[in-house]
């Protein structure tokens, strides 16, 4: 039922060319068969307008934290690579740090003044502005809206998609209205612009910020946003509150630091409701139901559950439900290649790992995957290295004060799985202005690492 809904929905959104490939892909999801039999339906016969590859061609799909970092560092690690970054957006703007904009701590330029063109020029690869529509792994051909691209190695880093089914919103009318009027704000820049306007124009009443269950993108993100919206309410002396409807029984990360901020800074403003998974939303009436309660709101940012990007499903690369309950990619735990295919990799937030889906995780993971690709292009293997989740959360806007976490992960060879946080994981939950300042430089550092030489 769920699968049918999503597929139908995706087809509606994406047009006829995909319909053919999707049907083929869906059949091969459960097996390991390559999509060879669907290649005729996919291939456009039109070659993308790209210079002839001057070395092994590495195609990276997705110009977010993971894709940008891999494109740069794979080239650095193995200069013979001919790297093409395929990105559907023609303008970059980061999802990370976007909460800071809502409280006026940064401007939009902070997030968006980073050019795909400069990133590619600075680091010796090609930026190709196109949308992926299909994949033929037998002939190693990626199909895009701007033509076919042959690859020796392919990295897919398409990020996440929302899963509205899991908050009880499974009719397409409600889902469309909800994602348009009360967006989650954890995927696209246009959502950020809408939420920025909502927060800046909020004049009183109830603002709902929901927190989904599962391994959603940016674990502290919704709590940080609640704090920053509350900061604005406090500054403007509004008769208002932020209602945090949390699907989880406890704050999912940095709980001590967030509880302290909620209680000490926003006692009469933030109302945090644990075990309050949303079960339905009435967009017109601005009403939300949870298992035991119902609420009305004046404005909201409804963050539904997340899943691996729909692109992963429609290219036939999704893991079985036993491996991922969030429709993430069927990849090797340590080396990120699609199981049984050493030429195709999935990184970033479409991975099935229990890693925090954060910019720093994707950035450090990408440094490692770049080394994996460089090694494999030379017929070698390297040892696994954990990504690192260094993550700041601004809990106060006036003055800027933050808390942070620095986490690594453990791998068990016996289980071939990530089993938990590594021993050297630390949290810094006493909010202070030093970490508040560091929050800004943390982001600038990652921008530099992605775009500069």
């Amino acid at each position: 039922m769920t699968d049918n809904f999503n597929r139908r929905n995706f087809l509606k959104m994406s047009g006829a060319v995909l319909a053919a490939s999707t049907a083929g892909a869906a059949m091969s999801v459960s097996g390991s068969a390559l999509a060879a039999d669907t290649s005729a339906a996919i291939a456009t016969g039109l070659k993308a307008a790209l210079p002839k590859a001057r070395g092994p061609r590495l195609v990276v799909v997705g110009g977010g934290t993971s894709g940008l970092t891999i494109a740069k560092y794979a080239k650095k690690e193995y200069p013979k690579f001919d790297v093409v970054l395929v990105e559907k957006r023609d303008m970059y703007s980061s999802c990370f740090s976007s909460n800071l904009w809502y409280a006026g701590l940064i401007n939009l330029e902070f997030l968006a003044n980073h050019s795909f063109l400069d990133g590619a020029t600075n680091n010796g690869y090609t930026y190709f502005n196109a949308t992926v529509t299909g994949l033929d792994r037998a002939s190693r051909t990626l199909v895009t809206s701007e033509g076919d691209i042959g690859y020796d190695f392919l990295v897919l880093a398409p990020g996440i998609s929302y899963d509205y089914d899991k908050i009880g919103v499974s009719d397409v009318d409600t889902m469309t209205a909800l994602r348009q009027k009360y967006p989650g704000g954890f995927i696209s820049p246009t959502e950020h612009v809408t939420i920025h306007r909502k927060v800046q124009e909020f004049e009183g009443g109830v603002f709902v910020q929901s927190v989904p269950g599962g391994n959603y993108r940016c674990l502290p993100g919704p709590y940080e946003r609640a704090c920053l919206i509350a900061s604005v309410i406090k500054k403007n002396k509004l008769k208002a509150k932020v209602l945090v409807l949390d699907a989880n029984p406890e704050i999912t990360i940095k709980a001590k630091g967030f509880h302290a901020a909620f209680n000490e800074l926003y006692k009469d403003i933030i109302e945090w409701k644990p075990n309050s998974a949303i079960t339905s939303v009435d967009v017109e009436k601005r009403a939300i139901k949870t298992e035991f309660d119902s609420y009305t709101f004046d404005d909201a940012a409804i963050y539904p559950n997340v899943r691996g990007s729909t692109l992963i499903e429609h290219l036939g690369l999704m893991a079985p439900a036993s491996k991922s309950t969030q429709k993430e990619a069927n990849i090797d735990t340590r080396f990120y290649n699609i199981v049984g295919d050493p030429h195709v990799y999935v990184t970033g937030d479409s991975r099935p790992h229990p890693y925090s889906k954060s910019a720093n995780t994707s950035n450090t993971e990408a440094h490692y995957v770049a080394k994996v690709l460089a090694a494999r292009a030379q017929g070698k293997e390297i040892a696994w290295v954990s990504p690192r989740t260094i993550c700041y959360s601004m809990v106060n806007a006036n003055p800027m004060e933050a808390i942070s976490v620095d986490a690594g992960y453990d791998y068990s060879a016996e289980k071939d799985a990530i089993t938990g946080f590594s021993k050297d994981t630390k949290t810094f939950e006493n909010r202070d202005t030093a970490k508040g300042q560091a929050t800004l430089e943390w982001a600038r550092g990652i921008y530099r690492d992605m775009f500069e030489a």
Binding site: T364, A383, S386, D406, A434, K435, W442
Partner: protein
């Protein structure tokens, strides 16, 4: 365990080479630049005995746009050792200078994602009295992503994501006048990458082309708390 894995992975070959060199060898790879005498804000010569324990002093060298830290290690002394940089190959850090060999200097740009002190703010600082990040005294810490360097050990990385040590600045000490002169650095390629990363900011702060010019015969050294308006204490 992670760190060990990382070292094996990334620098295994290079480190082997490095360690096979004599640790007592003189600082290799330091490139000489026109010497610049360290002076105080008023232009009078800075004496080694005037370098305080509590914080780093900031001076520009070898170019106007390159900030360096002068650090008084107090009771600790600097140990030359084989080092591996991100951009400039293998080198050995110099010994300390001054009467107790207790003064060292480094280019004050984090090797991880290039955070550096500006007049507005410095995320990188020498925390003589300890810090939340380092957990012990006498370390250089970078607030941005939590890297910790030990200035007595050639500013090698003690913890955090930094891939390489801070790069050294060679100092000459004149016992007769107690004066200090910067004479060279490791980091020619690193400096070029830094300039490329921050070109817009450096032009705004110093003027087009100016940040790339030699500092001249003298360079002013001021305490970090005077150089940067905000110094977060991570």
């Amino acid at each position: 365990m992670d760190r060990r894995g990382f070292v094996k992975l990334c620098t295994g070959t290079v480190l082997t080479t490095a360690f096979s060199q004599s640790l007592s060898s003189r600082a290799g790879q330091i490139e000489a630049f026109p010497p610049a005498k360290l002076v105080k804000a008023d232009g009078s010569p800075l004496k080694a005995s005037e370098v305080g324990l509590n914080e780093a002093m900031v001076f520009a060298y070898p170019f106007n746009g390159i900030p360096c830290y002068l650090i008084n290690l107090g009771n600790r002394t600097a140990h030359p050792q084989a080092m591996d940089s991100t951009d400039d190959g293998v080198f050995s850090n110099p010994e300390g200078v001054g009467k107790g060999n207790h003064l060292v200097a480094f280019i004050a740009i984090c090797s991880h994602q290039l955070s550096y002190p500006t007049p507005e703010i410095s995320y990188l600082r020498y925390a003589n009295e300890g810090s939340e990040l380092a957990g012990k005294p006498g370390r250089i810490v970078c607030c941005a992503h939590g890297s910790v360097y030990d200035p007595a050990e050639g500013a090698r990385v003690e913890s955090g994501p930094a891939p390489a040590p801070l790069l050294p600045v060679a100092l000459d000490y004149d016992a007769a006048t107690d004066g200090l002169t910067a004479t060279g650095v490791v980091g020619k390629a690193f400096i070029q990458r830094f300039f490329k990363n921050f070109k817009g900011d450096l032009i705004e702060r110093y003027g087009a082309g100016v940040y790339r010019q030699d500092v001249g015969e003298t360079t002013k050294a001021v305490p970090l708390s005077q150089y940067s308006a905000v110094v977060p204490a991570c």
